[in-house]
Structures are given as C-alpha cells and as structure tokens.
C-alpha cells in the first residue's frame, strides 16, 4: 500500500516546472545497485513523469530525480596554509544540481584556508545559495616544519 501511495505522490510532479517539454524522453541506467536497470523516462500530456524499467522504489525515486534535476555530491580539494599537506579534501554536505558543479568548483578554488582543521568543519556556508555547505573530509594538523 505504502508503495502505491508514494508512487502516486511522485506522479503528481509537474515536469514542466523543471523545464521539461511534453513528450520529452530520456533513456538512462539506474546506478542505485549493481542490477543496473535500464530506465526510460517520458513526460506525459499533463506534465507528469513516467518512469519505466525500474525494479524497486529506490530506482523509481532515482529515475525521477535523475530525469528532472540530476544531483551530485561535490568533491574537490582546496588550498590550505600551514597544513601537513598543501591541499584539503572537501565535499558538499548535500547533493547539489549537476549543472552547478563547475560554478561551485570555481568558488571553492578562490578560497585558501588555514590549518588546523577538523573533519566535518564547515569551510563554506550556503554555497551559491543552494542551501549546501562545503565541509572538510579529514583533519588537517599544522605542519611542524
């Protein structure tokens, strides 16, 4: 029962609000698990999204999200002063739209921070007003040299 309610809820999404056109189609592979289901997405006459080919609820959710607005976790490094290494690995604490990744990297590359840093420290708040923070992936102690 729960599944069908969720499915109904998902079908209420209006794809037109995401810049999709009626009849627009896309074929892609689900990456949630190694089954690698071949998904096909299509915008129906009312702007609803039809996903075919999924084998589970997670696949349906991934397919819908991936078709309407693909999102990725941002992973990169940034310059750090006085650390045991010259660069610090960082990541976004949530996924952000895929088409914002390069813009986000440009912002991050403008920063230079200073050691010491602890894993999970927020380095940049609310990146590009997306409601996403950039956080440190590890501790970075001060270099003794």
């Amino acid at each position: 029962m729960k599944k069908t309610e969720k499915e109904k809820k998902m079908k209420k999404i209006n794809a037109l609000e995401y810049g999709k056109k009626i009849g627009e189609k896309k074929d892609f592979v689900c990456i949630i698990c190694p089954n690698s289901c071949r998904l096909s997405a299509e915008v129906g006459p009312n702007g609803d999204v039809k996903i075919n080919g999924y084998a589970c609820q997670r696949g349906l959710e991934y397919g819908t999200q991936e078709f309407l607005e693909p999102k990725r976790t941002l992973i990169t490094t940034m310059r750090i002063k006085n650390g045991v290494l010259p660069v610090l690995p960082v990541r976004s604490d949530k996924e952000l739209p895929k088409n914002k990744i390069f813009e986000a990297i440009k912002i991050i590359n403008q920063y230079e921070i200073e050691a010491p840093i602890k894993m999970g420290d927020i380095i940049i708040e609310n990146l590009l007003n997306l409601g996403v923070n950039v956080i440190a992936s590890r501790d970075m102690e001060i270099s003794k040299k």
């Binding site: 990456i31 089954n35 690698s36 690995p89 990744i101 501790d139």
Partner: protein, 431 residues
C-alpha cells in the same frame, strides 16, 4: 639467528609486541583495532607520514555504505578509524619502512630519523596493500617522454600534493581508478580526451561509468588500446587501435590523439615482497594462500586487505581485516583452535571462477561458518554459485548477475564430515 638484541646494542630501537601490523591503511587500521579489543599489545608500522593509506587520496564518496551504513569519502572513512586508534595505546610507527620479516616473526624496519628498528612479535598481520601495474607491465610501445603516469599516482599528486600533471590527458584502462580520475581531472579543468579499454565492456562499476564519464561526455573506447606513445621530451600524441577478440590490434584502425599526458589504470598487484622473505606462499591472486583463519602457510602470519586479494569495496577490507586482527590476537594469546584436519580441504576455482578465498580449510569446528570470497572470470547473468564436494552440490546461491569488478562474498556452513579433500566452486547458468 638474529644477533641483535636490546642488551648487546643499547642504542638500537627494539620493541616486543603481541601483534605487529605491517601497513597502516584501511586493512592495518581495522586489524589493529580488532586485535587491540582482545587486550593484546599492538604495533602498526606505516611507511607514509600518516595513517590511512590509499584512502587519503581517494577523496571521492561511495565508501562505507555497508560498514557504516552511510556514504563517506575516503579520508572520512580513514579518519573514523584514525580517531579510534588515537583513543588506544596502540604503538604507531610512522615514516617506517619494513625491510625484512622472518618466519619467527622478527621484523626489521627503517625510519629516516631514528634509524634501524627491530620488532619481535608473537603474530603478524600483513596489511601492505597493493601497487599499480605500470606501462612496463603491459608493454606499450613508443618513446619514453615525461607525462606518463599511473592513475593512482596522479590521484595522489592532485588530491594530496596539489599538483596538476598536464592539460590534455588520455587514460588507458576503465577500472574504477581510471574512471574516477577522468572525473577528477575534468573538475580540475584538465581535458580528458578519452578512456581506452581493451575489454569489450567497461571494467569499472556502472555507477562510476555513469557518474564519471557520461556526466562529462568523456568518450569510452571499448576494445581499444594504446599502440604507440609519441613525443621527445613530453608526450605529444598517442595512437589508439581497435583490438580483436584476442586483444591484438587490428591494422588500419589506428587513430592519433593529441595529448600531453597518459594515465595508466591497468590493474593492481598485491605488494608481497616482505611476505616472500618470510617464506609465505602466494596463490594465483598474487596474494598469500590462506586458511579459514586468514593465516598464511607460516604459522602466526596472517594477511588481509589488498595484499591478500584486490578488493573493490573498502568495507570488505575492513570486515576481512577485523577477522585477521582478532585471529592474530588469539594466536598471540595462545588460544587453542579446534583440532586440525589430517589433510586440509582445498578450494578449487572452476567454471567461471577466477579465484576463491580461503584456499584451504584446516580445522574442524562444530559450527563451521566460513566466509568465502571470489571473482568471476567474465560477466554473466542469472547464474548459480555451486560448492561441490564428493560430486554433491552441498551449497548453491542464485545471483542475478556477476561481473569481474564485483567481488562475491558468501558465508557457507561447512559440514566437514560430508566433504572430501577438495571443494570445487563453479559459477554456472541457473536453470
């Protein structure tokens, strides 16, 4: 006999320990913590300036889904273990390279500041990981200019040392490191011209192909390989040719790609030089052949992680190493095992099984749950994994798909009385 002792040469750095862990990467960290929980003295010997091993350069996410039930980056996964180590009194020797190991568990190591170190351990866990195959290992013809790297080396240069290796890159090999580096280079503003793969399918995980190549429109050339590298001082171009089903280049298919850098992502080799010094026998995995305690042929020397078998998920390295660490601690404490079989039971990888671990079963338990890991030779769908002994399929498991890049882990209950001296393992189509 080793003549160096604490008394005869007081200046020498000498340690006695219950368990010595060689290597402070993901395997060593897990093995050390698990041994420590058994209330024994533990030493980790690590050649780098910090713990964490390869995880520190694998800054991408996707680690820990099984073990921590959350998606972590490599450094985060490592940090969680390092933080646990800091709470213990496990002795950590950094910048220390093990140069010798004997069958009676004497370790010789070098440290750039304090010099020679000798360690006497009751048991040892080999956690040295693996290293990359290079251009030389696959005999790519051409000149020898600057700009030729292994993929993992560039990963370290960019992610830890802050260097950019070039501007236009061709990657050979579609294993996970190759795919992840294609994305990483792209994000750093470097153009990835293409990824060439000699196999007719992508060697890495599907999620990596989608998220690393397709996201950035990087071409993947299947059944292709580099047949020449050109350039005098710096790489100027590579020639890529299509290959036939025997991996031989097809004449007339050569294409030239301009680039200044070539990355090789062509496989990993377990690093077992130290193991060999102790007399450890290696299997077709290039790692030690072990029994169900993850113990090598040398009593009290155990192995886990990539030095044992090249893993695709660090979570399994952790799970395997926790077992090896616990077993090494119990060995050091002298805890007795169940009675030993007269003849060990050998496991034999057969139809579409590339290898299987453990390679032998040596002890009789009442409840004999053994964790097996294996890889198929080629991808297949709707198969069944069969364990056969005395012409009887005593265990079978259906799988919807198998691919060489994904290790298969199965826990099997063995009834020793019903087995002969060998177990044959097949992956065959299910009916």
């Amino acid at each position: 006999m080793n003549s160096v002792t604490e008394n005869s040469e007081p200046k020498l750095n000498y340690y006695e320990t219950d368990v010595a862990i060689i290597g402070g990467g993901p395997a060593g960290l897990a093995a050390a913590l698990s041994a420590y929980k058994e209330n024994v003295k533990v030493i980790i010997i690590e050649r780098d300036f910090e713990l964490g091993g390869i995880l520190q350069q694998c800054i991408h996410n996707g680690f820990g889904l099984r073990y921590f039930k959350q998606e972590l980056t490599g450094p985060e996964y490592a940090q969680k273990f390092i933080n646990e180590i800091k709470k213990t009194n496990i002795k950590v020797l950094l910048n220390t390279m093990v140069i010798d190991l004997t069958a009676d568990k004497k370790i010789t190591a070098l440290n750039s500041e304090i010099g020679l170190i000798k360690i006497k351990a009751k048991s040892v866990v080999l956690c040295m990981g693996c290293r990359e195959r290079t251009r030389g290992a696959i005999n790519v013809p051409g000149t020898r200019p600057a700009g030729i790297y292994s993929a993992g080396m560039v990963q370290r240069l960019i992610n830890m040392e802050g260097y950019i290796p070039g501007k236009r890159v061709v990657i050979l090999g579609s294993g996970d490191i190759g795919l992840i580096m294609a994305r990483r280079l792209t994000l750093e503003g470097i153009q990835v011209v293409c990824v060439a793969e000699i196999l007719p399918y992508c060697a890495g995980l599907v999620r990596n192909r989608v998220q690393c190549l397709e996201d950035y429109n990087i071409p993947l050339l299947l059944s292709h390989t580099i047949t020449a590298i050109r350039g005098k001082n710096r790489v100027e171009e590579v020639v890529i040719s299509q290959v036939d089903d025997r991996w031989l280049p097809i004449k007339g298919t050569e294409k030239v790609f301009k680039c200044d850098t070539v990355l090789f992502s062509v496989g990993l080799i377990p690093e077992n030089e130290i193991s060999l010094k102790a007399g450890v026998i290696l299997d077709r995995t290039n790692g030690p052949a072990v029994n169900e305690y993850l113990e090598t042929n040398i009593s009290g020397i155990f192995a886990s992680g990539n030095v044992l078998q090249v893993h695709d998920l660090v979570d399994w390295v952790t799970i395997e190493s926790e077992k090896a660490g616990k077993n090494a601690a119990e060995y050091a404490k002298g805890i007795e095992r169940p009675s030993k079989l007269m003849t060990p039971i050998k496991t034999i990888p057969n139809k579409n099984v590339g290898y299987i671990l453990p390679q032998r079963i040596e002890y009789v338990d009442k409840e004999k749950l053994v964790q097996f890991s294996m890889r198929p030779r080629f991808p297949d769908k709707n198969v069944v994994v069969q364990f056969i002994s005395k012409n009887n399929v005593f265990y079978s498991k259906k799988l919807s798909h198998v691919i060489p890049s994904e290790m298969i882990n199965l826990t099997v209950n063995l009834d020793i009385a019903k087995l002969s001296d060998s177990i044959e393992v097949n992956i065959v189509p299910s009916e």
